[in-house]
Subunit: 434 residues, 2 copies
Amino acid sequence: MKPVSVGICGLGTVGSGTFNILKRNAEKISGRIGREIVVTQVGARRDNPTCDLTGVDVTRDIFDVAKNPAVDVVVELIGGYDVAKELVLTAIEHGKHVVTANKALIAVHGNEIFAAAEKKGVTVAYEAAVAGGIPIIKAIREGLAANDIDHLSGIINGTGNFILTEMSQKGRDFEDVLKEAQELGYAEADPTFDVEGIDAAHKLTILASIAFGVPLQFEKAYTEGISKVTPQDVKFADELGYRIKHLGIAKLTEAGVELRVHPTLIHESQLIAKVDGVMNAVAVHGDGVGDTMYYGPGAGSEPTASAVIADLVDLARTFDADNNARPAHLGFRADSINNIGVLPVEDVETSYYLRLQVQDHTGVMAKLTQILSERDISIEAMIQKEAKGGNSNATVVLLTHEVKEQIMNEAIAAIEALEYVSGSVTRIRAEHSE
Amino acid sequence: MKPVSVGICGLGTVGSGTFNILKRNAEKISGRIGREIVVTQVGARRDNPTCDLTGVDVTRDIFDVAKNPAVDVVVELIGGYDVAKELVLTAIEHGKHVVTANKALIAVHGNEIFAAAEKKGVTVAYEAAVAGGIPIIKAIREGLAANDIDHLSGIINGTGNFILTEMSQKGRDFEDVLKEAQELGYAEADPTFDVEGIDAAHKLTILASIAFGVPLQFEKAYTEGISKVTPQDVKFADELGYRIKHLGIAKLTEAGVELRVHPTLIHESQLIAKVDGVMNAVAVHGDGVGDTMYYGPGAGSEPTASAVIADLVDLARTFDADNNARPAHLGFRADSINNIGVLPVEDVETSYYLRLQVQDHTGVMAKLTQILSERDISIEAMIQKEAKGGNSNATVVLLTHEVKEQIMNEAIAAIEALEYVSGSVTRIRAEHSE
């Protein structure tokens, strides 16, 4: 069979990994599909010393690649929103399939991009956009296609998980570990996207859509970062038998879709609680299969390139077939996407970890528990610790059963208004083990 | 598009699950692929009370299904070797695609079956044959297609993992837990296939072939059961920081393929060491992606049916395309399969846990360590425990670095011949954490 001709746009971390693996494992790859995948053109602002570009047409204008009649598939690895979107739409316009690792682009502009691709009869593949080398898009769209998937949760930002793991295992504080992560190259100079959960929310938005068959709704995702998690909370969680992870959680409920990224207590008996360091993992629950989990490196040159090439292999295998032979962009075909909205976080029901300072005064605990019981919030576990050094303050930690966030907001306001409660209540959401 | 017509042969645990999920999630499934999957005929010795067969053509002769011109895909769920093989070959002969959950059939007769299917231009799909609901065949053949995969290991028998987990967490002994597993329905009345590792070896054979691109070579797999693992060994392993799991291990080395199922010490820091109970997990290492792991239920009606239906969905999606649009049966196309042989276990290099009884006599430890050092076997950890009650026996436990099995056999023979060593040496292989 005729080789599939690929044009790579962007020759940075992922682009160079893609180029190099395609070369190194060319025989293995063509042995799997019976046709070669050949990089015909590379569009990049500069060459990459790790890539031997001998014999490859190199251009400084990525749009040359998108318009090149000799290119069958355009691989978009430039990142960002605007130019990437224009590049992808240009490639589609020219009848080319697209492979991208750009989670921000798909989460924000995916609905528009997929509509354009379907109109033109081409495919935009994005396995590399979520959880790096883990074939999670394929697992959900194809491997679990029998299932009514009702929830999933993921550790889908390696930087955040590295920071929380260090805090948990070594008692270090956030700022200290962040600095190390930046020195190690795990975190960007501006770590906002990673530690504030925006990157995770991009990925979660994509996972929720393909799992539930709903449109991409990134703008409605609830996002809370890990910068306020303290070593003290990590330690109390540990005492309760929980780990704190920066979890992306998506659920399909009768009221709507939950789509939220925030620090989360997970019981230590759950496998995902044991996923440490920069590794990623996504747990998916389907009505037929039950609980499954997918684990691997969520970033890096060759892990991400592995996912880019998996998409190229799928495209090469089905190259002579039409779009129907490939999975629908969002897992479900456009006419089967259900326009179910995302719940405001106030309507989400979850469990809570609460930490507060109380003055050691008769009756304060009675008032505290009364506030909760009046709102039907039941307590699963409680820790009370007297302050050292003999002052009259105590730290109270509570783990509650599930309650609607709005009710919890009211309860917290009432607790903070109590005479003998000092300062504000720290609140971290918790996921109960099944 | 025209619906895909399915004939199900066998309406037991997995057959009924398949039938029921196809019905329950019909809308979700057709929403994903844009065409319906309809069960046209069921061939089963008896009806199943959980299945409403109204409107379905029911036959008592499964070969009716294999020959039925109205059936596009035959789902083989009768199990066993001979009749299943005849059924599958008959279906192929009649130009039908086949989906099977039969690991024994694929591991033993797969080479022949796939050759027949390829000659006829049809596909035999078998996601459900390995690790139940976990889409591990898809992950390896497609999701990791960019990679040179060099090793994988799996907990691929839920019964065995349940037994070892109970032994580890509760200090129970093998026979006691096996009896409970049988009462719970996890283990068959004749548990040989599960606890002696034959079932795991079937699955490992399949995984190794699709990962490495080698023929199915079940008859050359090394298989050792868990019936001789004692609570004492579980406890000593724990002291050393290890768990004992019944692991299937496949490696591609320069000398050949390692293919072995045996009790294995795994360091507790490895995620796969934390996979407990009846759950399955497969860890796969590729040169690009690094370490990945896939986790979920390895058996049961609906988990296995989830995998059967994933295959049906893939076939339905590519139904109008030819075999080239679907992954090659063994991951690599027939002309790219490398006929690499399986290493005899004597040639395998691994680490070892050794446990022996020594009489408390000057010089015995010196002789023991001399036997090891003469053979370049270095010791990673050692435990020596005096027997209680004042007799002069001590238990010695050693954890060694990697050495060829043949050398270890010689060392063990020499140790057992020592004057002050009582009885035989217990040996369990160990996998080092990376």
